[in-house]
């Protein structure tokens, strides 16, 4: 494979990189962008009972220019997809995408023979980082998704893993 032959940088700032990644991972500002049912659970996750703010992720920015993570919370219709793509392109690097809910993962319950209106999953046109299944997922699942995203960025999971009994 050609990708393996890329020479690594001569000087590496490993610790600085780590710090930067930590910074990025703990200050994930989502874009205020709800599409459907899951958006309500996203709001619920931001509200008092679950409080995304604890992870520094409550700053829902209305402008894509200032947000780091896009939570695709709902069904993506074919009419909407170009808009979402534009929003994604407007976000500055580094940026991440969370596909929340079954609709955003694969079209969910709205996939059927002869469907004409929806895109079957956000990963068809966006590089999705985290998938959170559920219809809709509980707010804890979204928090878990944020934690998982932090794990992906830093390679270090700071919180215990909760197993449901």
């Amino acid at each position: 494979m050609g990708t393996e032959n890329i020479p690594s940088a001569l000087v590496q700032f490993a610790s600085a990189d780590k710090l930067i990644n930590l910074g990025r991972a703990n200050s994930l500002w989502p874009l205020t962008f709800g599409i459907a049912c899951c958006a309500i659970e996203m709001m619920a996750a931001g509200c008092a009972r679950f409080d995304l703010a604890r992870f520094g992720a409550e700053v829902f920015r209305p402008s894509p220019r200032q947000s780091d993570v896009m939570i695709v919370a709902g069904t993506i219709s074919k009419k909407m997809a170009p808009g979402i793509k534009t929003l994604y392109d407007q976000m500055p690097e580094p940026k991440w995408v969370i596909a929340m809910g079954n609709c955003a993962i694969s079209g969910g319950p709205f996939v059927f023979e002869g469907q004409y209106g929806i895109i079957e999953g956000a990963d068809q046109f966006l590089p999705v980082d985290i998938y959170i299944p559920g219809c809709p997922p509980r707010p804890e699942a979204l928090i878990e998704g944020i934690i998982e995203l932090e794990y992906k960025i830093t390679g270090w999971r700071r919180w215990p893993k909760v197993t449901a009994e």
């Binding site: 008092a48 009972r49 679950f50 409080d51 604890r54 079954n102 993962i105 694969s106 079209g107 969910g108 319950p109 996939v111 059927f112 999953g121 990963d123 999705v128 980082d129 985290i130 998938y131 959170i132 299944p133 559920g134 219809c135 997922p137 509980r138 804890e140 699942a141 979204l142 928090i143 878990e144 998704g145 934690i147 998982e148 992906k152 919180w159 215990p160 909760v162 449901a164 009994e165």
Partner: protein
Amino acid sequence: MYRYFSEIFSGLWSLIVGMRITLVEFFKPNITLHYPHQTVKMPARYRGHIELIADEEGKPRCVVCGMCEKACPSGCITLEGEKPEGSKKKVLTSYKLDFTKCSLCGSCVDSCNFGAVEYSKEYNLASTRKEDYHFDLLKRLEDRHS
């Protein structure tokens, strides 16, 4: 003139009342569930994705009647079974659940006449791979029982 001043004062008063309420809230303990540290127990009827139920021997109770497959509105369930030689009943060989299409409506559990499927209590799934949610329920059942 009287109205002018009364409006100012009643307006100010309403603002002060509002501020008093938020101040009281400020000193109240918060109600947050600190999720990864604290968890809430899912109610008995919580509907997660489905799981197979094992009988006493650890084998699935499922008799491969296919009712759940038929009832599912979005076609998440595919199951296969075969009739081993010398046996009357069909034996389940694979039970695949595509959780990414599920709407958690419960039709499958409702339709099962043999009590072979139940809801799991998994409420906090998140992963970097979509394929993690194409469950092989039979395998999961075996993992739980081994």
